[in-house]
Symmetry: C2
C-alpha cells in the first residue's frame, strides 16, 4: 500500500513516524510544507523538513518539541556575545544542516535533491519531498502589520492578532518534481494533523497540488488536529478564533471538503456529518500512539477504497 | 609613540600582543594580511584577522596555534556525518564570527567596519585594519598546479613545491580606509615576524602600501622570522628553499630593502650588513618574550628616529 502524506511541523512528523511503524519505508512519501522556510544570517532554514528529518531519524528533541536531542549551543552563545541576532535558536549541529543546504542551493542544486540526499544521510528510507523548490513565504497580516512566519511564530510567539494568511510566491511556484506523481499514484493520501492554515494551506496554495488531491482515485483522509475541542499545541486554536472559524472537527472537514473522503477524529469527540469518520485516541505521546493513529488513517482509507 | 604594525598569522599576532604590553592600546594600529581570506561553505573566513582578534582578546588556543581556546566541535562533527567537507576546521564558536562577518558583508558593510566592530566586541583597544576591503587571493603556482592558499596550507599541508606566489586581485585593490594614513602618521612602523612571502607580501602587493612604507618619515623596522638559521614554524623555511632564497637574516633584509631602516634579529645570529640591527631572543614563548621583542623593535625605531 503506497501512501503519500502531506505534512508540516511537529504533529505531522509524529504521524509520518507512525506510518513508518506500520508500513515499509519505501512505500511512504512525505510532501512537506516549506512555507516556513526563511533566510537567517544568510542561511536557508527549512524548519518543517528538518523537524521531519530529525523525527524520523530519532534525533529529535522530544521534550523541547523542536531541534535535535544531542544539541550544543556554543555558536549561539558566541553570536550573542558578538551582538548578533539570537532570537532564532540555531544549535551547533542544526547549523551543519543549514550551512550544507545553503551551500548546495548556492551551487544550483534543487531543494528536492538536497532533501533526498539528507534523508539518505539520516538513514531514512521514506521519500521526503519539499512541496516546491521555489521559495514560498507564509506571511501573516496582523494587528502589528505584515509579519514573516518565523517573526510571528518565534520572535513574537504568535501574540499578534492574525486577520489573513498569505503564501507569497505560491502562485508562480511549481510543485517539486515527484509531488504530483506521488499524489496521483498513491493507494492512499493522508493529510497529517498539522495546522491546516499554517502548515497544510501553503501546500494547497502551490498550483496543481489541490487539484491533484481532488482528482486522485485514491482515498484522501485527514487526521484532525483537534482533540476534545482543543488544539494539541501551537497557535491553531488562537488562530482559528482570530479567523472566525469554530474550533471543531466540522471546521476541519469543511476546510478540506473539496478533496478529502474521510476524517480521523479523537475518540468520543463530535463527528461532523457527511463524511466518513474513524475514531481513535489521536494524542500521540509515544511511538505506539503514533502507529495506532497512522493505522487508523490507513484503515479508514482502505475501507473507503473498497467502496 | 604611535606605532603601526603590518602583520599576518600567529607569529605576527604574538608581536602585536607584545606591543600592547608596552604601549597604550590606543597608540597601536595593526594592518592585517587578508590574502588568506577565502569563502568556505558560503562563509567569508578571514584567518589572519581572526587569529589577531583571538590572540589580543586572550581567546586564542595557544597549544594548537590556531582557533579559540574554548572551542567545541559539534558543527564539524555533524557536517562530517552529513558528508560535508571537513578539511577546514570550523569550530562552533569560530563559526559565529564567520557567519556574522558574511552576513554583514552581504548587507554591504566593509570588512574594515566589520573588523572594527568585532575588535570592540572582543574588548580590544588597538585599531585593527584589514589591508583591503576587496578580496585579494594568495595563490601558489606549484608542482600540483595553481592552488588557493588554504588548499595549499591546510588541505595539502604545504607539501606541494612552490614556484611562484600570486596575489590575485591585488593590482586593482585599494588599501582599506585608514591604512595609508596609519603608515604615514605613525611614529614607528613595525613589520611583524610573519612569513614575508605569504603574510607580508600580500600587504605590499596592494597598491600604495609599499610606497607609503618607503615614503614615511618614521623609521620602519622589521622583526626577522628567522631564528638560528631556521624558521620558527610554518612553511617559511621550505618555501624559501623552493624559491631559491637563502634562509638567512640577510635575505629578509634584502626582501624588505626598499623600505626598512632596521632589523631585529635573534641574539647571536648572523647580522646582515648595511642596515641597523637590534638583537634579542626573538622566540616568543610567553607574554614576557612578546613584550621584550616588541620593546626591542620600538627601541631600534627610537634610535633610528633620533639620528
Amino acid at each position: 500500500m503506497k501512501v503519500t502524506v502531506l505534512t508540516g511541523g511537529v504533529g505531522g512528523a509524529k504521524l509520518v513516524l507512525g506510518l513508518l511503524r506500520v508500513l515499509p519505508a519505501a512505500d511512504v512519501t512525505a510532501i512537506v510544507n516549506t512555507g516556513d522556510d526563511f533566510r537567517h544570517l544568510g542561511l536557508h532554514v527549512s524548519p518543517d523538513i528538518d523537524t521531519l528529518l530529525y523525527t524520523l531519524s530519532g534525533k529529535a528533541n522530544r521534550e523541547q518539541g523542536w531541534g535535535r536531542a544531542d544539541e550544543s549551543w556554543s555558536f549561539l552563545e558566541t553570536l550573542r556575545d558578538l551582538g548578533g541576532p539570537d532570537w532564532f535558536q540555531l544549535g551547533d549541529r542544526d547549523l551543519a544542516l543549514h550551512v550544507l543546504r545553503t551551500t548546495r542551493l548556492a551551487n544550483g542544486d534543487g531543494l528536492d535533491a538536497i532533501t533526498a540526499d539528507l534523508a539518505v544521510r539520516f538513514g531514512i528510507g521514506a521519500t521526503i519531498l519539499p512541496m516546491a523548490n521555489a521559495l514560498v513565504a507564509t506571511r501573516l497580516e496582523t494587528d502589528e502589520g505584515l509579519l514573516d512566519f518565523q517573526h510571528y511564530f518565534v520572535a513574537r510567539r504568535c501574540v499578534p492578532q492574525v486577520s489573513r494568511i498569505r503564501f507569497d510566491g505560491a502562485d508562480t511556484a511549481l510543485p517539486a518534481p515527484g509531488v504530483l506523481a506521488a499524489i496521483a499514484s498513491a493507494d492512499a493520501v493522508v493529510i497529517a494533523p498539522s495546522n491546516p492554515f499554517l502548515s497544510i494551506d501553503p501546500l494547497l496554495a502551490v498550483p496543481g497540488i489541490r487539484s491533484a488531491l481532488a482528482l486522485t482515485k485514491a482515498p484522501v483522509v485527514a487526521v484532525s488536529p483537534i482533540i476534545a475541542g482543543r488544539a494539541v499545541k501551537g497557535p491553531t486554536a488562537k488562530l482559528m478564533e482570530e479567523l472566525g472559524i469554530r474550533l471543531a472537527n466540522a471546521s476541519i472537514a469543511a476546510h478540506y471538503a473539496d478533496f478529502i473522503d474521510g476524517l480521523v477524529i479523537n475518540q468520543g469527540d463530535d463527528a461532523p456529518d457527511g463524511i466518513a469518520i474513524a475514531q481513535t485516541a489521536t494524542l500521540m505521546r509515544d511511538d505506539d500512539d503514533k502507529a495506532r493513529v497512522a493505522q487508523a488513517a490507513l484503515d479508514l482509507a482502505t475501507s473507503l477504497s473498497c467502496q
